[in-house]
Amino acid sequence: MVLAGGFFALGVLMFWFTRQFSYDGLQSFGTGFWPRVIAAIMMFCSVLLFVQSMLSKDPAKDEVVIDWKSAGMKRVYLVAAVLIVFCVALYFVGLCPALLVMIFGIMWSMQERRIPFLVITPVACSLFIFVAFQVLLKVKLPAGILFQ
C-alpha cells in the first residue's frame, strides 16, 4: 500500500511537471502528450495496486515484506554507507584511492577480518584497474578535484 502511494505520488509529480510542456492536439502533440499519458497510466496502476492490496484475503502472505532490521539488511546499510563514502572519495581524490576504500569497506561489511586479505585484495584490485586502464588502455581515470 505504501508503494502504491509512492508510485501515485510519482505519477502526480510527473503530471505536475508536464504542465508547461507544449501540446497542440493529437495531430501535433508536442512534448507534453506522451509524458502525461505515462503519468496517467502510472497513477491508474498505483490505484489498482492499492485496491489489490486492500482486497487481498491474506495481506501478510500476498504483500512483500522486507525485514528492515535483519542482519542482511544491516549489512546492506553498511554497504550503502561505504558507497556514499566511495562517491565522496571519488569526487575528491579520484577513482583508484576511492576503490581502495570501497573494496576494503565492503569486505569488512561482509565480515572478512583476515588482515592479509583486507590489505591485499583492495590494493591488487586498484592496481589492476590503474595498470589496465591508465597504463595499457591510456584511459584517463578520474583524478578527483584535489589532484586536478
Binding site: V64, G72, A80, L95
Partner: protein, 504 residues
Amino acid sequence: MFDISALGIALSSVFTVENILLILIGTLFGILCGAMPGLSSVMAMTIMVPFTFSMSGYGGILCLLGIFCGSIYGGSITAILINTPGTSNSAATCLDGYPLSQKGEAGRALGISTMASTFGGVFSALALFITAPILAKFALNFGAPEYFALAIFGISIVTSISSENMVKGIISMMMGLAISTIGMDVLTAENRFTGGTTYLLGGLPYIVILIAMYAFSQGLINVLDYKKGGVLNRDSAKLTRVIPTLDDVKKTAPVILISSVIGTVIGAIPGTGGDIACWTAYSQMKRLRKEDEPEFGKGNIKGVAAPEAANNAISGGALIPLLTLGIPGDAGSAIMLGSLMMLGITPGPLLFSNETDKVYLIILGLMVANICMCLLGYCGMRGFAKISSMPLQILTPMVFMFCAVGTFAYNHNVTDIFVMVAFGFLGFFMVKFEFPIPPIILGIILGDMIEKNLQRSLVLSKGSFGIFFTRPISCVLMVIAIFSICSPIILAIVRSMKRQEKEA
C-alpha cells in the same frame, strides 16, 4: 537470396587474429562469470559493454557474442558440480547433472553439456542465417503504425511474462517509459525533466541504468543474502573423462536436436529467455522418456543434454527479432542493441538490404563464439570447476568495482557513477519488492520509438487512433499486445469467481 560477396567480407572480418582472440577472451570471461553463482549472463555483458566500445572495428560486438554464449554455458558447470546453477538458464540442468556428479560421473555430464550447448548455439545461428532475411523482407512493408504496434507488442509481452503481478509489471514498464522521456526532445528541442542540468540533456544513458539495475543490484543482493564463510564450493568434484563416448552421443543426439529447435523458437519470442527454454525442453524430453531409461531427476544424461541445448539455442533465436525488427526480446539482446547502435549499426529490416555483411558478421561471430566455447569448455573444464570456490566476500566488492569502472569507461563522466549507484539501490529495492526489471529496460529502449511512431501515425491519420486497427499487421500486433496484458487479469478474475462459486 544470400549475398556471397557480403559473406566474403564478413568472413574476412571475423577470421582475423585480433577478432578471434577477442571472441576467445569474451567467451572465457563469459564462462568464468557464468560459473560463479551470483553473476548472471546479463551481468557479465553489462559489465563488459563499456570496455567493448574501446575495441577497434567490430571486435566489441564479437567479444560480446562470446560473453553471451560463454556465460550461458558456464552456468551449467556449477549446476552439475555443486547443484547450484550459475545462471537461471541452467536451473533445469541441476536436476540430472548433480545426481550424475554424485554417482562420480561429473566428467560425463559436463562433456555432454558442452556438446549440447555447442550444438544448440550453432544450430540457432544457422536458424538465424536462414530465417532472418525472410522476416526482414516482410518487415520492409512496415510503416509508423506497424512500428508503434510492434514496440507495444514487444514491451507488453515482456511485461506479461516477467512478473506474476501484472500491475507491478506495468508500473515497471511505465517507469522505463518515463525515464526515456528525460532529455531534449529531438523534434521540438524542448527540454523535459532535465531540472536545468546539462547532464540530462541527452537523457539518462541506458547502459548506465542497465549496469545499475542488473549488476549493481545483484551485488547488493549478494550482500543481503551473504552467510559468513560463504564459499561456493570447496570440494570441486574430481573430473574423470570429459569427452563424450560414442554411445552417449548416439543416445543424446535426437534430444539435442529437438531441444535446439525448442530453444531457437522460444528465444525468438520477445520476453522469453533461457530459463523458459530449458524448462520447456526438459519437460518435453521427460515426457518422451523410454521405459528402459533411467528416470529423469535421478541422473539421466538426456536430462543434462536437453536444457543445455535449449538454453544455448536462445542466443541465435533472440537475435532474430533484434536484427530483423530492431526489437530486443530480452535484456541480453537489449545490450547487444545498445552496442550495435554505438558502432553505427541500426538493427531493423533495412540492415539486411543495406549492410548485409554486418548481419553475416554477427551470425558468423555467433558460430565462432560457440566453437570457441566448445574448445575452451573441453580444455579448461577442470579449471572452471575450481572458480566456484571463490569467496563471496572477495567476489562481491569486485562486482561493485567493475560496475563503477565500467560505468566510467562508457562515457568518461564521473556523474554516471553517482547515477549508477542511485539506480543500483532503486533496482535492489524493486527486485526485493518483486517489481520486474526487464520492462524498465525495454521501456527505456523502446520509449523513444513508441513516442515518435505514435506521433507520425497520428499525423498520418489526422489524429485518429483507428489507424492502428485498420492496417492488418498493426491490428494483429495490437490485439496480441492487449490480450497479453489483459489475459492474466481476466484469468485472475475468472479464477476468483470460480472459487467464490465453489465456496457458495
